[in-house]
Symmetry: C2
Subunit: 411 residues, 2 copies
């Protein structure tokens, strides 16, 4: 792996200084090539599907894995959209002149070698490769074993496009060793790898976080809350809560625990529980909630759980402090919302809650690169440093200071 | 240590939402208290000095360790200057409205619990505590063993000031276990600690980087280069090179290896070597350099070394590509300079060199929070992510997104 990563590292300066126009031309060529080599990709995908059926993968997993001509067109289109994004490298983030006369510019630059570990869906291969390429980063991709033929076929199309155009195909790399040992080695190669982005289950994230010497930007779980204040517009609250829980329950920004102020609980809890149940949600509740509706008791374990399903816990709280305390205890600092018409209450919540995204009177489902207007998304970071929340292409850059002198020496 | 760090973590929300005015009032009270309790601090320092003499610390280390009434006034003054800095929390970094009508603000917030590991100089205790307090972070300080009495006395003054004013003194914490095992435990407490900043020798930095599960912002070594191009103003180059090497050789931003274009080497190398030797610098050189001056051969080990002294290596290069190659091979991505009058050459160097600070026609000695206008400095980060180069108080913050809705649900 050493030689492989050394090669990746050796290309960083080359890609970091490639002209935007050339990057975009190459990306458009990659998109065309994905469509032109549709048959090869579908053949590889058929092998993965066969294996998946033999290994009795679930219908949901098989659906994620499956490629079709339409899905390949979608992948190509996503690469074209990434090509159309504003150039992320060379943005002047700040600039000033200091008393000594030096002119200082803080400028965005690529991170270098970025390793991304992900699962199942093969389109992530082309999405991620394109995002890294556009931002001037050499990517090292490690997809799921179940999609290995598809991922290799997709990467080959992208790499062949680079080679055909005279660019080293190793600018887009697939990890040669797909085993867990390969990952274990990769995450300690801080001499060659500048950033690891693990996207996947809790086990993977924990393993990477506990063992990496390379900096990690995690894409961990979301245990998101919505607190319905006593001064909330309850009709609006009905819509927002239903949306936050049910619009796509498998998303990390979906609602897990509904917090309700006790002053409105006898009115709101039965109404929202009935509406949730009607659309198939499975509701549990705290002891106070049980005074209003017939549900199972929500345990601390429930409050800690990212259900990724239509399950939901309701907890009645005495005030906003208790809501904050619950969020601090059980939340994952992902997305938290307050529903209220009271200005002071809203401001207090926005400032006191520590999460990547804090909402007033909106569904937590908006925590998303697309909804935030980033155009394409690397994922949702649960890190506190470097990138927090929806991670767009600009979050695949770091910065340097360019300092313009005229013979300046330090006194 | 668990209970100690749990306590620190529990205070993050309190300090994160403290009003700027209250933080500043408390900081000014801390500054006054440092002066008022000068005798107690000097007594504690005398114990450290006694121990240092017994342990035969070098004169340089003893000087770093020693406190005087004047130095304590300096510490108090530094705390007052930090109080006067612009509030780092709550800065709106970006803001926009998305098509769905949500208003999004990206706002600076404290990081949370910040652990700082440092050495010898006791003034770092009050500087760092004040920087963390002003930026709303709970600090966990781990100073050098040789300064333990001084650090405890200084921390006690700061903590007593907090307690006297009704604020939990644990907002400023000293690590209870000062051993290497204590550090080993601390750096794996990612449940409680949000960031570790190690400042110190290579051994410490390596140990922390290799073993931490908490994110690390390193303050590692600087192997800095200055490349004198064939189109440099050579008189200006003389001044800049002398300044970069000799103005304070022990600094991490001092020059270690001078790269000289071969077209001007026969002229410039003897001139600069004579001037350097005259002020006491110890010069080595590559084989080509040896054709012009009588010096020992610089080995690859020399090129890798941060001398922290007046030692310097000279290497003659064929062109800017060879200069870049040398910098990439031996540099530490800290501070790199080109001296040239050629616009295209300067632009090329600024873009191609990967370092936190890249200079044209200036001394690398300017890589410094004070010189950059940051007012006070946490240190010089050699990280690529989160904070790069001079790290001011704003780099002790991260961000969250505040999202203002009007009943928005996701379609």
């Amino acid at each position: 792996m050493d030689a492989f990563l050394q090669k990746a590292k050796s290309l960083t300066s080359f890609l970091a200084t490639m002209e935007p126009q050339q990057k975009n031309t190459l990306l458009l060529a990659m998109a065309d090539a994905l469509e032109a080599h549709q048959e090869a990709i579908l053949e590889a995908n058929a092998k993965d599907m066969d294996k998946g059926v033999k290994n009795t993968l679930s219908a949901a997993l098989l659906d994620r894995l499956k490629l079709t001509p339409k899905r390949i067109r979608g992948m190509a289109q996503a690469v074209r959209e990434i090509a159309a994004l504003k150039e992320p490298v060379g943005r002047v983030l700040e600039g000033w002149v200091v008393p000594s006369g030096l002119r200082i510019e803080k400028v965005s630059i690529p991170i270098g070698v970025v390793a991304i570990i992900y699962e199942s869906r093969p389109n992530v291969t082309s999405d991620t490769a394109a995002l890294c390429f556009k931002s001037g980063n050499i990517c090292v991709l490690k997809g799921g074993k179940e999609a290995t033929h598809s991922n290799h076929a997709i990467a080959k199309v992208l790499q062949d496009t680079l080679a055909f155009n005279g660019v080293d195909p190793a600018c887009i790399s697939l990890l040669p060793d797909e085993t867990r040992e390969g990952v274990a080695t990769l995450i300690r190669q801080d001499a060659y790898v500048d950033l690891i982005i693990p996207r996947g289950g809790e086990g993977l994230i924990r393993f990477v976080s506990q063992n990496a010497t390379v900096p990690v930007v995690k894409h961990d779980k979301g245990v998101c809350h919505t607190y319905v204040d006593k001064e909330a517009n309850l009709d609006q609250a009905m819509e927002i809560v239903l949306n936050a829980k049910c619009q796509r329950p498998s998303a990390c920004n979906a609602l897990e625990t509904l917090l309700v102020h006790e002053a409105i609980a006898s009115d709101f809890v039965p109404r929202i529980a009935a509406a949730l149940t009607q659309v198939g949600a499975k509701v549990k509740g705290c002891a106070t909630t049980q005074q209003f509706i017939h549900v199972d008791l929500a345990t601390p374990e429930d409050f800690h759980t990212e259900h990724l399903s239509n399950a939901l816990s309701i907890k009645v709280v005495a005030d906003i402090q208790e809501a904050l305390h619950h969020i601090t205890t059980y939340g994952s600092s992902h997305s938290e919302a307050i529903l209220t018409e009271n200005y002071t209450t809203a401001e207090w919540f926005l400032n006191a809650v520590d999460a990547s995204c804090v909402y007033v009177n909106a569904s937590t489902r908006f925590t998303d690169g697309g909804e935030f207007g980033f155009g394409a998304e690397v994922g949702i970071s649960t890190n506190k440093l470097h990138a927090r929340g929806p991670m767009g292409i600009n979050e695949l850059t770091t910065y340097k200071y360019k300092v313009y002198g005229k013979g300046n020496v330090r006194a």
